[in-house]
Amino acid sequence: MGKLARYFWPKCGLLFYIAEDRIETAFGFFEKGALNIEVRRSFPLQKKEEFFDWYRQIRQIYPKLYAVSMIETLNQGALPGCSRRIFEKFGVDEALSRHLCIEDRWSAYVSLVETKWLEEKFKGIELDLLYSPFVLLYRHVRSKLDEVPGLYILHQNGLLYMMVLTRDRLWFAHASAVPLGHGKSAVEAGVDVDETDDLAFDLDLLEGEESVEAAADEALNLLEKEDQGNEKGDAEDLALLEYNLNLYEEVKETITRYYRDDRYEETFIQKVMLCDSDGNVSDFPRYVEDELFMPATLERFDPIEAMADLAAGEVE
């Protein structure tokens, strides 16, 4: 009967998370203790109704559909313990947060307001599983943990979820945002790169001469195009560089914060691993190795795969 039910009424998972201005989604079937992803789709955040429609269509076909997501916010964290005393020590109000104890060693928590906000934002979706980025990061790096304390960072949507871990315990956790640099903000603010103030020649000199004017226009167009391309490329490179530096600075500040915060038991971080889902922090390991003199690695992190891995174990 179980096999029959699995054949006719399979368990399915619809996983989604917000990536900047898009909703990244994936659909798959729970089979043999794993969630096998079949389809991946991406919806603009402004057209989330399309995503809701897709969800409703799938749900009509597969009634055993589990909606899985992760919550991305700074109003969450992880604590090195599960007791009430720990929550009091770090000033986390249990009544105003959702929290869960992981392997009787540490806790993940998130503000109730944030979960309500998410539920309100995706009102058309009946959420079944909601994961903390800290939990996803922990599951991702768990097999790599050893006795050497390491700083494990999940970088997603410009947010950093950082955990200091060894095999048997969590030492420190913190969520923060990568500060937007000047270059980055310039690009993001949509500065008009068509401005011609910085052109290398004076257009006024060419006024009044039609033939010359036509030739000058042509030359001007070519130059404009070239300059636009160069400027845009340079601005992006600059923004990326600045972003990497800002990320590095933020990580460094977090490490300093950890060493200075008396509430945490102290250990010496000896390695850094950055799990990145945005794909724009390739320089970060080099900065860490050069500046902090500790090994740093960069890994690609796919939130869909991480959620699928966890959901498979939770859906019976």
């Binding site: 009634p63 589990y66 992981i102 993940a108 909601l130 966890l310 174990g313 939770e314 859906v315």
Partner: protein, 175 residues
């Protein structure tokens, strides 16, 4: 081990289309089962009716045989009655003839007519009168005729005549 802030909501086992299909199948099955049960009930009732009719047929046959036997017996009785009536008529005639045969000189004191024959008791003035006037017609009627004489004081004879054969008298009716 739970890793999620939320617990999965309970899911319906089947979707709407499958539910409609399942209901349709269940209703169809119910109809088939009900119809089968009805047919089974009807055939069972008919089997029982057939058995009852066979039983009644047996009873009727036995009754018919009984009636036939009764009819045969009645017919036999009728025949017997007719025979007896005929015999009685014959006997009546024989007795009438017998008494007509008795001459005036001979006085009968008793006559017993039974299945074995006729026994006559009486008085005769002489053996010769008896032999000539009564014995001769008796012998013509009966196969055997035996007479015993007892002399009386006045010279006459008391006689007892036992006649066997010929006349059927006192036959029992067969039941």
């Amino acid at each position: 081990m739970a890793y999620s802030f939320l617990r999965p909501n309970p899911k319906p086992r089947i979707d709407t289309d499958s539910r409609i299909l399942a209901i349709f199948l269940v209703v169809t099955l119910l109809i088939i089962v009900a119809f089968t049960a009805f047919l089974w009930y009807r055939s069972d009732t008919m089997r029982r009716e057939i058995a009852q009719m066979r039983q009644q047929e047996g009873i009727m046959k036995s009754r018919m045989a009984h009636k036939r036997a009764q009819i045969a017996r009645i017919e036999r009785l009728v025949r017997k009655y007719d025979a007896i009536e005929t015999n009685n008529d014959l006997l009546k005639d024989s007795i009438r003839n017998l008494f007509d045969l008795v001459p005036d000189q001979i006085t009968l004191t008793r006559a017993v007519l039974d299945r074995n024959g006729l026994a006559l008791y009486g008085v005769t003035p002489s053996k010769e009168v008896y032999n000539y006037l009564l014995l001769a017609p008796l012998k013509s009627v009966f196969k055997r005729s035996t007479t015993t004489f007892y002399p009386l004081k006045n010279g006459w004879y008391r006689f007892v005549s036992i006649n066997e054969g010929s006349i059927e008298a006192g036959s029992e009716v067969e039941r």
